[in-house]
Each structure stands twice: as structure tokens, then as C-alpha cells.
Symmetry: C5
Subunit: 354 residues, 5 copies
């Protein structure tokens, strides 16, 4: 459950030429899907031969969405970079994951880099999606195979209306789908937190503390992803990049609102977690108080009694009271009186009140 490896990052060896790609050996082999469409036309294809891509994607009047899943082949990715004339630094950002979410404007395209969130068996998985938006194409890179962008594909297939729309709308649809995926993750974390809250309200348990600790850590991690995402999308919705029309900025403002809502939920969770930590600490303190009270009540009552008993257990030859007949019951009564006094004293201090 521990979130290990937070400090690992794929970097090329020190002193590499800028633009060096550092491909993880275990990264899956890239699979390239092309969707080409306009209002009347739709073509979906798995691209095997990169060369034919070049002649297709720059055709005006159509939208070309090239979706690359898996980053496991440096040659192929470099070739894609050549075809789309991607800047070496942008290509570096695609492979050397994770990058801080951002938007960079290059000469022939806009480069967007966003995190994708997923809960996998109650552990948080983050993946980077890189989106290039050019005049005639949208090029996306995902780290692993996945069907997160399937809803976009379905909408394109189903709906001629979106097909009439331009390139930037497609980009918007992709970004919107990615951002909408944040909510279920945040809701699951929020629910986990509320469960933890219920458990901590009931009893004080050390494991729960560790769970809370791990949860707080995750929330801190998410914060680091979502804030720059907000900035990146905010820039698109404000800036007048030539690759995003005026119409579309209204839509990106909506996406921006969605990211803000995610951050709002996140902040609420973080507040809640901090408060829980406080609650836990004061509960521990309270509990200690209760334990100490029991110990003190028991000790306060019995230690003086034991002393009295010990007193008459002494073996002095001349202890006149020992031979007095009513001495034993008198001592018992004296003990009872001591108990009553002690109980009264304790009661007055209010220790029996909860």
C-alpha cells in the first residue's frame, strides 16, 4: 500500500544531448491508430507502415487523429517525430515521463501534457498523455494500452455532428474525457477518507493512522498533478493560439471549471485528512487520560487501605489494640470510611463524568 518509487523518474544519462529519449525497457510496443474523418467520411485503421501516414495526415479539410499507445520503440517514436516535425524537446517530454503537466507552443503545433488518473485495486495509477494539436492533425501518446479515450472514438463513430467540427474540437473532446476521469478517482479517495473517519471516530487504531498517512501522501501527490494541469488548461482557454479557434476557448473554459472542481474536491479531502490527524491525536490523548484515571482511582483507594492492613500485620509484641476485641471490626469500618472519603474526593474532581 505504500506509495514507493515516488522519487524515480526516467531520465537519460547525465550530459546527454537535449532531446535524448529514454525508453523504459518494459514499455509496451507502440500501437498506432488513425481516425480520419470529416462530416461525410470516416476511416479507422491500425497503422503498421509509418510512411503512408505522412501522405495522409497533412491533408486539409479532414481531421486526423493519430493515437499512439505504448512508448516501447525508440526508432518508431523518432520516426513519428520526423513525420510530424515535432521539436526534439517535446519528443523528449513524451518519453521521459512523468513530466509536470504543461502546455508548450511550438512552431507547427501545440504540445499538451496531462496526467491520466486511475484507481487500480485501491492503488492510484497515474499515466501521462501527450497531445499534439497541429493544423490538420491531433497526435496523442499514451504510456500504456488503454481504453480511456474510447468514449471519444465512439462519439466520432456515432455522431456525424462532431465529425463536422474541426481539429481543435477533437482535441477538446480528448482533454475533456481525460479530465472527467479525475472525478471517480477523487470520489473513491474521498470515500476511503470518510470510511477512515468513521473508523477513527469509533476506536483508536494504529493501522488506521498509517492508512491515513498513506492517503494524505496520495492527496499531496495528486495536488502536484492537478495544479499545473489547471494552469495548462487555463492558458489554452485564455490564449489565442492559432491552433485553437475562438469558439473552442468557451469549451476549454468549461474543462477548466471541471479541473477547478477536481481541485476543490481534492482540497476538501486534504483538509479533512488534516483534521482527522488532529482528531486522532486528541483521541489518543483522551484515551490516555481515561487509562490514567482508572489507574489513579484504583491506586488512590487501595494503597492507603493496604497500608492500614500492613500496619496491623506488624509483629511488635506490644501493640495493645491487637488484643482489643472490637479492634478488627473497627479497623474494617475505618477502612470503609477511607474508601468513602476517597470516592467523595474523586467524585468532586469530576473523574466519573465521561
Amino acid at each position: 500500500m505504500n506509495q514507493k518509487g515516488l522519487f524515480k523518474k526516467r531520465k537519460p544519462p547525465l550530459g546527454s544531448v537535449p532531446g535524448s529519449l529514454n525508453i523504459d525497457e518494459k514499455a509496451p510496443f507502440p500501437e498506432i491508430r488513425l481516425i480520419e474523418f470529416d462530416g461525410d467520411y470516416l476511416r479507422e485503421e491500425i497503422i503498421e507502415n509509418l510512411d503512408e501516414l505522412k501522405s495522409i495526415v497533412f491533408e486539409r479539410g479532414k481531421v486526423h487523429w493519430v493515437d499512439v499507445q505504448g512508448l516501447g520503440d525508440e526508432t518508431l517514436i523518432r520516426k513519428l517525430g520526423d513525420i510530424f516535425s515535432l521539436h526534439p524537446l517535446a519528443l523528449e517530454d513524451v518519453t521521459n515521463v512523468p513530466q509536470i503537466p504543461k502546455v508548450d507552443e511550438y512552431e507547427n503545433c501545440v504540445f499538451l501534457c496531462l496526467p491520466m488518473l486511475r484507481m487500480d485495486d485501491s492503488s492510484l495509477v497515474t499515466e501521462q498523455v501527450s497531445v499534439f494539436v497541429g493544423e490538420t492533425f491531433v497526435l496523442t501518446f499514451q504510456e500504456r494500452y488503454g481504453d480511456v479515450l474510447d468514449p471519444v472514438r465512439k462519439r466520432i463513430r456515432r455522431n456525424a455532428q462532431i465529425r463536422n467540427l474541426s481539429n481543435d474540437y477533437t482535441a477538446y473532446a480528448i482533454v475533456d474525457t481525460i479530465v472527467d476521469n479525475y472525478f471517480p478517482v477523487l470520489q473513491e479517495l474521498g470515500n476511503e477518507l470518510e470510511n477512515l473517519e468513521d473508523e477513527l471516530m469509533e476506536k483508536v487504531a494504529r493501522e488506521k493512522l498509517k492508512e491515513l498517512y498513506v492517503l494524505k501522501h496520495r492527496l499531496a501527490h495528486l495536488k502536484r498533478l492537478l495544479w499545473p494541469t489547471r494552469d495548462a488548461i487555463g492558458r489554452i482557454s485564455r490564449d489565442e493560439s492559432k491552433y485553437f479557434g475562438d469558439q473552442i476557448s468557451l469549451y476549454f473554459r468549461d474543462v477548466y471549471d471541471h479541473v477547478m472542481q477536481s481541485i476543490d474536491m481534492l482540497d476538501l479531502s486534504r483538509d479533512l485528512a488534516s483534521e482527522l490527524m488532529n482528531l486522532y491525536l486528541s483521541s489518543t490523548s483522551n484515551r490516555m487520560n481515561e487509562i490514567m484515571k482508572v489507574l489513579t482511582v484504583i491506586s488512590t483507594i487501595f494503597i492507603p487501605l493496604s497500608f492500614i492492613a500492613g500496619l496491623y500485620g506488624m509483629n511488635f509484641h506490644y501493640m495493645p489494640e491487637l488484643s482489643v476485641k472490637w479492634a478488627y471490626p473497627a479497623v474494617l469500618i475505618a477502612m470503609a470510611i477511607v474508601v468513602l472519603i476517597m470516592l467523595f474526593f474523586i467524585h468532586k474532581r469530576g473523574w466519573f463524568r465521561k
Copy 2:
């Protein structure tokens, strides 16, 4: 009392077309009231047939306030959207509650989205009000049936003066009424807090801690609602939107001041709550100190005495002092001296001072 469901939000299924409405099944059926008026004329009506609305609300020279209570019918709300040419994204924000409070400017109207606060049996209820202000109409959406805006209606009925005023003044009256409703809620929370303060000053109780925790949580929640409300209203009072005249911005500056006062009260409450938590923690610590002092005083006095008694309870055959006649009183006196020494030592340490 626990504020569950903080992380629930109505969202359309992932990958929906932007502008998808996600209607809660339990949402009440919309009831549409039209108030149409100018200085000389006043007409109030429950609208059943939406079609007639279209011919009415764009008439110049009159103010048309259409108040929709309940969001439980998608078709009807879409139709309203068509009639008033609302942007699909704005319509989405109306139904997919709660949104972060904001103001968005569209081509034919300004869209405002504000929270409405209410205390219901000491639990805090928040509801979203959406306000569209066009050139000839004010369109409001409330989540549930409610009479919060009744004072505005009454003023319109009673007061010909307001009826002479324009569309934007009506919008101002509505927003002002909503914002004025924040004070009683904040005052109730503030009073709750002051009661808690009194109780915590007196005794240390675990349930009070939980109440405090819940209260802090609510205050955090309110903060998230009021800050963006402030920004939204601040934008209206500064910006020169064509739907709000120059005159009216003075009034919105006043509303802005009211929101600021709410936030001020809220911040005061939040500070107070944090301080209370600290006070509680140090009280617990203090209490522990007191308990430990009692235990230590009792132990320090009686444990040495018990040892002396135990010593003369030993059964050795040759303990010469046992047969000495004044040994018993001597030991009793020795014990008394031990007690005095211990008391002096404890006194010197200042443990009897409060």
C-alpha cells in the same frame, strides 16, 4: 450530524457529449413562474405551456422574471434552453449541481451561479441558484421548491418604484436576497461555536471534540462556497457587461461588501474553531497533569509507609526491636515524620498550587 456525501456530485456518464444534462431522479418537477412588469403593469402567472413563453419574454420595455423551481424534467429544461438560446455548457451547469460559484458571459446573456445556504434542523443545506440575465429577461433556476426569493416577489408586487427599474436591478434584488441569507446561517454556526467554547472551557469531553470537528468541516465547506461567490460578484461589480448598467454596479459593490462580511464572519469562526482545538488539547494535557499529581502524591506518601509496615511484619526470630515496648509508638511517630517530609517535599515543588 456527520456531513456525509461531500464527495458526491451529479456528473453525466464519462465521455458524454459536452452539454449533457444529468438529472437526479429524485429532483422535483419544474414549476415555472413568470412575473412580467413595468412601472404600470404587473402580471404573475404559473406557466404550463412553454410555447407562449417565447412570445412574451423578449418584449422590450418590460422586465420578465422567469423563476424555475425544481430541475426534474430534462425535456422541459432543454426546451427552456432553446427558448432562451442558452449555451449547452451553461445549461449543463444548471443541472449538474453543485458547480463552483461563477459568472460566465455568453453572447446573449450573463450566467451567474450562486450557492443558497439554509440551516435545516442544525444541519447545513446548500442549494445552487442559477441566474441568467438577458436584455429583456431574468431567468432563475432553483434546485428545490422554496420561498427564499419571496421577498423579491413581494417587493415587486408592493412597490411600483422597483417596477420602474430595469432588468438588471431585478437581478440585483435576487442576488442581494440570496447573499443576505448567508448571515443567519453564519450566525447560527457562530453561536454553535460559542456554545461549544463555553462547554469546553468547563469540562473536557470527547463528544464535544467531535462536534467541533464536524463544525470545522462545515466551515471549510462554506469557505469553498463563499470565496468563489466573492470573485463572481466582484467581477460583476467591476466589469462593464452590457447586461448590467453603470448604475447597478454600485449596488453590486454593496452586495460584494456583504459577501466580504460573510467571509469575515466565516474566517473569524474558523480562527475561533482552530483556537478551540488548541485549547482543548492543552486542557487535556492539563487534566492529565492533575491526575498524575494525585497518583504521585498518594504513591509518594503511602508506598514508603507500607514498606516500613512490611518490614516489621517480617517473621525473623531475632528482631530485637519487636520486643521493645515503645517500638510500636516509635515506628508510628517515624511514619508520621516520613509523611511530613514527603508533604514538605511535595509542597516545595508547588504541586498543591492549582
Copy 3:
């Protein structure tokens, strides 16, 4: 000593027309003083008949300071509003106290709303002063009768030089006097804090904690008053309102510096109070440590001894050592050795060092 009623605020009933006045029933009846002067002329008068005011205060070439003390008559205040053509929202801010300190520019005057601070029997009293500065008049409203502005009056009477100066200089003199009154209050709070510090350094007392708590609360309250005061006066010193000449902005910059010094003192007090809270908490912890040490030292020494004594108090028939003659002194020596070992062990742990 508790600062109750922090969450009370005079507000008109919900849904009132904007500009509704909400007069506290216990508010004193307004007393209106007029001071009219120029370099050669000085007239001071209590005004009974408001109508004559109208003909006086708009005369050019003279300064007219109208000082209203007490807000207890709605009709009279409304009439004043009519005479000076005050905006209904500004008039509302005069009576519905407390407002957040601010400066608002209206068509015919500038409206300033500032807090006045006073220590009354070691409890902090705040009052709102409203200042309207027009072309020919300065109009001030105070909540209660008071002589805070007397120094200004004296200077006007005494000093022909100030009488030569304009309207805005009079406003400056008033604001400067109000702001200078902050220092003694802050100094008294600071001294209280330093006394508390001395007491807390010496002993750990629960009542002191509560005093500290109340003091922190007051400081938080003051912060909320002084920060917006700073902003308001900062705006006057920067802006070029037509009611404040260029010369005067230099003087308001000086007032601004004074407010900044107040805030500086306040922040220092707040820091000091937070540190004191920490010190208190660690002192409590320390004290607990000391108490525990005493308990543990006593227990560690006597519990083993008591066991040995108990051992030879057993009544077994066959305990050969009981009949040995030197057994008793041997056991006593053994006990002494146990004590020495325990003392050595405790000494090694450094428990006797302070």
C-alpha cells in the same frame, strides 16, 4: 472577559429594500455639532433644527464639519442623508454597524468607514466612525457620544493655521486622530501579553491559558479591523479623488505608515501569543515529565524493598533463614544494597539532572 456577541450584527430584515436602516433601539439620540470656519472665522454650534443646516454647509470658501454622535433616530438620519444627498447604500453602511472598514467614492462625496478602538476596563471596545468628505463639508457619524475627536476640535479652536487649510485637511486631522488612538490600545494588549508571558514562564496555570486564549481572540479580531483600514487609507493616499488635493496625499501616506505600524505591533503580539501557546504546551509536557520522574523514582526504590519484606512475612513453617540470628541485619543490608543499585541506575539515566 469572554468576547461574546462577535457574531451579532445589525441587519435589516431579510428582503428589505436596499438602503434600509436598522437602528438599534438602545442607540443614543443623535447630537449634531457644527464647526464652521475659515482662517478668520470660527463658529461652533449644537444644531437643533436641521433645516438651517442646508443653507450653511454648501457655502464655498469655508470648512463645515458636522459631527453626529449617536445613531438613535432614523428620521433624523434620513433627513441628514437628504440634506447632504448621501447615497442610500452609504447611509445604510452608517447605521448597520459594524461594516468592514472601506472607502467608497460617490458622485458628490467620498465615504470612509473606520473603526475606533478603546480599552474599557481591560475589555476591548470597537466603534465605527463614518466620514463623508464633500467639496464644502466633512460629515462624521459616531455610534456613541465620545470625546475622541476633541483634540481635533481644540486644534481648530486654537490654531488659525489649520483653519486656513481646506476641507480635506480637516478630514485628514480626523482620520489621523482616530488612527493614533490605535497605539495605546495595542500597547495595552502588548503589555497584557508580556505580563502573561512572565506568569507563564514561572508556573503552569490553567486560567492563564484561558486568558491567553481570550487575548489571541482579540488580536484576531483587531487584525480583521486593521487590515481593511490599511487598504482604505492606502487607497486615499494613492488615488486622486477630486475631494482630496495632491498636498494631502502626502499626509495620508503618513497615516498609512501609522496604520502599518499598528499592524506591525499587532503581528508581533500575535506571534508572541502563538509562541506563548507553544511554550505553555511544552511546559505542561515538562511538568508531566517531572511528576512522572518522582513517581517512578519512589516506586522503583520501594516496590522491590516491599517485596523483600513481604517475602519474609510469609508464614511457611519451614523457612530456615528465619531462625538464623544474623538474617535480619543481613536482609536490612541487602535492602540497602538494592536501594544503592536503584539510585545508581537512576543517576546513570540522568533523572536527577534538572
Copy 4:
């Protein structure tokens, strides 16, 4: 060692005319030194007769540095104000110390007000230096006699090169010398802190806590002095005041960097102090744990043993085991077994590990 009098400030009586000087009675009598120089010429003199000053200091082509040490004569200081035509508010800031560090631009000069720091017998002394920079003069006021600016004088005497430079360079040299004096003070505080750290790492001592508290307080005080100093010097290095040439702003940027480094050291100290407080608190907690462990180990082992011994110390007539011959050794063995079980139990809980 306690930093008393933090809340004292020399202020004229309430309601004084702005520009009132409030001279401390104990302030030393002003001593006025004039240094007049250009590339070829140098004259140093103690000025007794102020009247001759007037004819000297406005001569163009030469730099006139008038250094006033001590503020103890109001007439003299007012006369100086007249000679140099200083604004009454600026003169007020010179005498009513301490002011918040700042820079103010007046018509005929720039007014700079900076703190001077000194460690005196391990207590922090702060003094205000006021610097007026006119076209032909630099006028400095120090609260007390002192040789802090001696290095500047020496450089002027020694070095013809600086004498060729202008007025503003002299001002720079003075400010630079003042700011360079911050480092030794900060280093001494830093060293004190590191010593405290070493001591706290070794043992837990209450006096050290108080020392830490006093140190934190001083650092907070310094922060309040250095931040506005930074702003003031930053403004000079950016603004294009006519009294500071373009060349000199490069030098003031360097002074600005020095102030930033001071603040950096200060912040580091403050962080360190906060961490130390945390460390102290957790050390106290740890120590308590250790003490409790000793108590619990001793109690856990001996309390059951004592019970067994007490059991066989009972005086019932019919306790068959008492007369059994091997009963005594058997009980001893049983006790040993109890001890072993307890030790095993304690060992399993890991209490003997440090």
C-alpha cells in the same frame, strides 16, 4: 534576557499637530559632523554653529555629508529641518523612532529610514538611521553616538576615487555599510541557535526551551525589520529617482542582494528554530516514554510477586501448604517463573530496545 519593551514606541501626545517631534529625555545631545569633498578637496569638521551650514551644503560640485549623532535637542533638529527644508512629516519620522524601514520621495530630497543592528553582550540592539539624499548633500541621523559609519569616513579620507564620485554614491556607501552590519548579527544569532541545537540534542532542559523561545522572538523581530528594508532598497534600485543616477542603481541592486542574503539567513534560522521546538517536544515525549517504561517494568515484575508473598503472609489457621516442607522453595521457584514470564512478555513487546 527577556526582550521587554517591544511594545513601547515614542509617540507625541494624541491629537498633536502632525509633524510633532517627540524627543526622548535620555537621548544624547546631537553632534554634527560635516564632511565636504570632491576629487581634490576634503574637509572634515564638527559643526557647532548651524548657520554656517546653510551657506555650505548647497554648493554644487561638491559632496556634503552631514552626519548627526544623537537626537536629544528638539530646537537643533528643527533648525536642521529648516536649513535643509525637510518636510515636517519626515522630520517626525526621524525622531519618533522606531519607524518601519521605508523610502519616501519628497520634493527636494529622498528620505530613507533603515535599521542598524548590533549585538551588545548577547542582547540585540536596534537603532534607526535616517538618510536624506538631496542634490548636493547627504544628511544622516543616528539615534546614538556610534562608529558604524567610520569605515565610510575612512574610505573617503583614504581614497580619492570615491571622492570623485557623486552624492548618490556616498549615500550608497552609507547604506551598504549599514546593511553589511546585518551579517555579523545574523551569524551570531545563527551560532547561538546551533549551540542550542547541540545542547537540546543531548539533554532535555527547560531553561533551554526558554532560551529558544527568546531567540525565536528575536528572529521574528528581525524579520519585521528586514522585510521592509528589502522593499525600501528594492524601490531605490528600480525607481528612477532624480537623486539617484542610472549608474548607482546597479550598486543598489547589489545592496538589495545583500539584504536578500540576510533575509535568507534569517529564514534559515527561523526554520531551524521551529524545527528545534518540534524536536524538543518529541524529545520530551520520548523521555516520558522511557520513564514510563521503567515504572511499568518494575511494577509489572514486583507487584505480582508481592501479591504471592502477601498471600502466604495471611494468618488463616487452616492453610495446609504452610506446613508442607518444600512449599517455601516451591513458592520461590514459582516467583522466579513469574519473573521469567514477565521478562519474556516485556521482551516480546520490544521495550528493551532503545
Copy 5:
């Protein structure tokens, strides 16, 4: 392991002429390497005679990288300053290390001052690199001999492509290499932290607390280095200095992203460290609870039993129950019942649950 000497800084004596160099006596003697190259030409040389440098480095069309390692000779460094016409204040910043990272624009060059990080035997070493970028030269100063910039040299030797590029690209390559060196250091610190986390999760140890303390301190130190580094590089990537072409700003934006990632890792570490401190504190609290529980359980069970045993150990002559035959077993049974009651009571309080 303690990070001593944080408050030491090489400063020239107070009152020195600005631009004074303060050379550490132990600083190594400077070694000057020249790399001169263009697309077709490459020359690497150790420069002994500074005079020949002057004739080389201003030749247009070639890149001249002069790398100075070691600052131990003031004359030599001053001479270098003369050759390259460096501003005295810049030269001061080169030798009086450490400076706050920054970028300063001078007339004939841009001056950059950056920290270099290295882990040396698990202690953090920081060194300042000063970079001057002129029209025809790049001049770097390192405090000590080192091979951190070797990768840049290798790339220049190997790769004709970089040799075709200009001066500013060389500067970029140097800065990029320095910044890339931050990652391994941050990763090592992050790993240390994660190890500490594992250890603290398992047991509560005081030394670990100190390690954590030292680690937090280092992270605070790094934060102070990296934030101004970010600002400095941000300024280069934004500003249009004439020494950095438009092309290169894209590359510096990439370096900026790398610094941001470092800061991100750093912040994550700092958050983690704070959380660990909290976790540690609550673990200590928990542990105390457990210890107290053991003590209380043992005391609660045995203290009453001991009292009963003591009661029947009294020597009164008339204690009728002593002679009753079944009294002894009856008392034993009574004791067993007391134990059961106590266990039940303890069980009900939930003390046996973990």
C-alpha cells in the same frame, strides 16, 4: 552528520570598497581551460599565460569557453576580470560565495550564478558555479576542481553539430548539465527519506528522529537554493537578452521545466518529511498508551488482591474468620472473582483490542 556552518559566509571585512574579493585561504589555485571551436575547428588548452587569452576570446565566429576551476588566487581572478571587462560587483559575487542564485545583465555580458549539488558520502555538498555569457565567450568559474562539466566537453569534442551552434547554446549546455545534476541528489535524499519512513513505521527510535531532523534541514536548505535558481532561469527563458537568441529560449524553457521538476520532487520530500514527523509523534503517543495500559491492567488486577491478602495478614487476636476451616479457600475464590470482575471491566473498555 550535522549540517554545521550554515551561517558562515565569506564576506570581505566591513566597510570594504564594493567589489572587494574575499578569497578563502584553502581555496585551490585556479586552473584555466580554454575550449575554442566552431563547426570545423576545435582547440582545447590549459591556459598558463593569461595575456594570450585576451587576443583569443574576442574573435568573432568562434565559441570560446573559458572554464576556471578553483578561486584561490586573487591577482589572477582580478586579471581575468580585467580581460573580460567584468563589473567589480559581479567579480565580487564570483569569489564571495555562496551567493543567492541569480541572473544579472551587465553591459557586455550576462552573469549567471547557480548552485551545483553533489552527494558526498551521504553528506550534501553545494558549490557555486558562475557563468558569464558574452558575445564571443562563455566564462565559467567553479569553486573546486571537478568533472561535472565533462559531459559538455565530451559532447563538444564528439559532436560537430553542437560546434556549429553559437555561444548561447554552449551556455545552455552548461546550465542544463548543472541542473540535470540536481536529480540524483534529490533522488538520494528521497530514498533516504523512504528508508526512514520504513524504519519509523516499524519502531519508534530517537536516533531516527534526529536523522529526520537533519534531513528536513537539508531539504529546507535546498529549497533556498532551488527557488531562486528557478527564478533566474525563468528570467533567461522569458527575457530577450541580446546574448541569448530567440531559438535558445525554447531550450531554457526546457531547463526551467527541469528545475520545476526538481522543486516538485523537493516539495514532495518536504511534505513527506513533515508527515513523518507527525507520524512519529502520534506513534510515540500510541506507544505511551500501550505502556500505560499494561501498567494499569497489572495494577488494577493485583493491587486489590494484595489488599485482601494484607487484610488477613493482620495480627488482631479476634478475627473469627481466621479460624474457620474453609475461610482460606473462600478467600482464594473471592480473589479469583475479583480478578474476573476486573478482567471483564477491562475487556469492556476495549483495552485488549489493539
